[in-house]
Symmetry: C2
Subunit: 421 residues, 2 copies
Amino acid sequence: MSNEDIEKKVREMARDAKRGSRKLASCSTETKNRILYKIADELIAQKKFIAAENNKDLSAGREKGLSSAMLDRLELNDKVIESMVTGLREIAALPDPVGEIDDMKRRPSGILVGRMRIPLGVVGMIYESRPNVTVDAAALCLKSGNATILRGGSEAIYSNLALAGIMQQVLAEEKIDPAVIQVIPFTDRHGVNVLLTLEEDIDLIIPRGGEGLIRFVSQNSRIPVLKHYKGVCHCYIDSDADIDMGVPIVMNSKTQRPGVCNALEGLLVHKDIAPSFLPVVARELFKAGVEMRGCAASRALVPEIKEANDEDWGSEFLELILAVKVVEDMDEAIEYIGEYGSQHTEIIITNSYANSQRFLREVDASAVMVNAATRFNDGGQFGLGAEIGISTTKLHAYGPMGLEELTSRKFIVYGEGEIRA
Amino acid sequence: MSNEDIEKKVREMARDAKRGSRKLASCSTETKNRILYKIADELIAQKKFIAAENNKDLSAGREKGLSSAMLDRLELNDKVIESMVTGLREIAALPDPVGEIDDMKRRPSGILVGRMRIPLGVVGMIYESRPNVTVDAAALCLKSGNATILRGGSEAIYSNLALAGIMQQVLAEEKIDPAVIQVIPFTDRHGVNVLLTLEEDIDLIIPRGGEGLIRFVSQNSRIPVLKHYKGVCHCYIDSDADIDMGVPIVMNSKTQRPGVCNALEGLLVHKDIAPSFLPVVARELFKAGVEMRGCAASRALVPEIKEANDEDWGSEFLELILAVKVVEDMDEAIEYIGEYGSQHTEIIITNSYANSQRFLREVDASAVMVNAATRFNDGGQFGLGAEIGISTTKLHAYGPMGLEELTSRKFIVYGEGEIRA
């Protein structure tokens, strides 16, 4: 396809999505839920078709020499389909944020002013490999009244188109414009370039994938982008922390799923508790196969800790490695987090009331926690139901983004003939 | 100044602002309010200094041949200073949004999750002429815990620097880093270019001014921008509207201040009520000197209405001109608004319960009103206290932006040793 053809097609898709989104915005909750349940049923009914299309991607991937980890993520096996089906039904069961009205107040002029929750319009999703994102993201957007344009990894194109086809079929049956869920039907990178310029028709871009993808998207987009680059999460062990509480929290945060963004990457230990805490936690960490890289003070207490170099501070290891630093006091810990954290998840283990309050107030991260594992920073765990991504910038949303974060609020006014004096 | 010097200086300003914003974020409400009251007092005390600096701008403006309207807007006379002082005191009296916690819920895991309101960080304001914006914007940002970098019109540079100097003097006296309120001290356009790229240190850009300025900013900014291009507001007169209510609302919306963004620009009248409504409203409008430009149907009813051309539909006149169209029904009105509206303010005059609800739900604008004048779309009228601008896009804020819109929310978690299963 020529660049002009690509541009023409993507523009057309965006325009169609915008048109469809207008009607979808006032679609009843009942209809939206029925569509979600039907899509779930169809995914099960059309398992064989999905597998066949997915196989095209898998064979192409094998030929291209994709790693077995990548092929794994690409595979739409029964378990993955099961999880998409569960996800769809869970999203259907969530309350619909659209139309909610709050902050209704009578003003001195006599008018009654409130705010009504409304969809954003059209959301562009740009993501890598896992084709299940196609269904998860489209379902969250649909439930919140938004149209979606999906652009998955080129290695998953057949799988993504198959899933979109099933969803569009259900939409058409329910007399909803199928343009509200579209997958860009070609893999040329130019499609993304065009998509990112269509600010008239697309309201939000959410990139999900590696740092390279996210940087590319945010540097080239004329449309607002919600993203997080990385999760460099820290745990600060305060001087009077409960060691029996701190050790399991550190272990859980570091080892439960080391490859995810809310895994622990840095441990800061108050100097007064370091002699009693560090040897205990180190024994457990070593037992779990974690490599510790620390400052001189930590190595003086636990000689098995390797010497950290400058790059270890603030590094997102995503594996069984943990940076360790003994700090003078909480000021130093907060300053360190300000410098090396990624505004994702920061936790304190403490028994001091004053320090817990100060940490919650002063640390700048999308989630700040006292005496709980970093792993809780997650839409499901926080009660959002499901998440479409995590934002580590503060505009519009900060932290896990659920249905509400896919909406905005307009002002509504009930008057009885008021005019402005 | 060379481009390199400009770049160096603006980068330094942004870095300083970011550093200052970290401390300001946890500054007490009491301190922030004391600063605001003190600035108000200083503006009065230093009236002569302000007048002298303002005079430099005024003479330069006269020499450059600025229009008398522009010179008017530039002037910091007693009345304008009075209004800045009142504004400062009003902002001091508003509740501080920072630190507010809501949505606190116990989750099945045992953790207690809530959301704490926090400042955005550093706000870049880019605006034209009126130097009072310098104080208004800085005060709103300060109260919401944000640092501001201000870049006003080049014709107001002495006035803006004088006002910033006074504010910085008060900040220093209160031991707050003066870098939290800074005016770019030169007028070279390159300063704006640099500012718009500093996404690491600046969290939000708010442009205020003509459409040219706003387009330039939003097309060149790597930082999120909150803006509105224009206000093309409509009033739809439903078939069973109360004529005695509709006429004053149209008059107030169109004529009270025709030059502002929430003034009425288009009137849509249901065909059934047009014969009784149009002649009455036209008489009043003509009396007030309003020129009406209408469709054939409207001209058949009121021959004095001029023939509208294609450009009149959706035009932001900002003067005593009103586009008039007779519509078949509410569907046509809603469709027309979708095509020609600017997502600013849309109103319906009706006595139909069903139509009022449908209009509120289906019309996409930052403020949708029933039986009240468009002129109410304003931060003060809506109870936000004061506004830093109006957003006509849905990301982060939609409509007038007050203190709350200058904040975000982070998740906070109170745990008692919970780990993730």
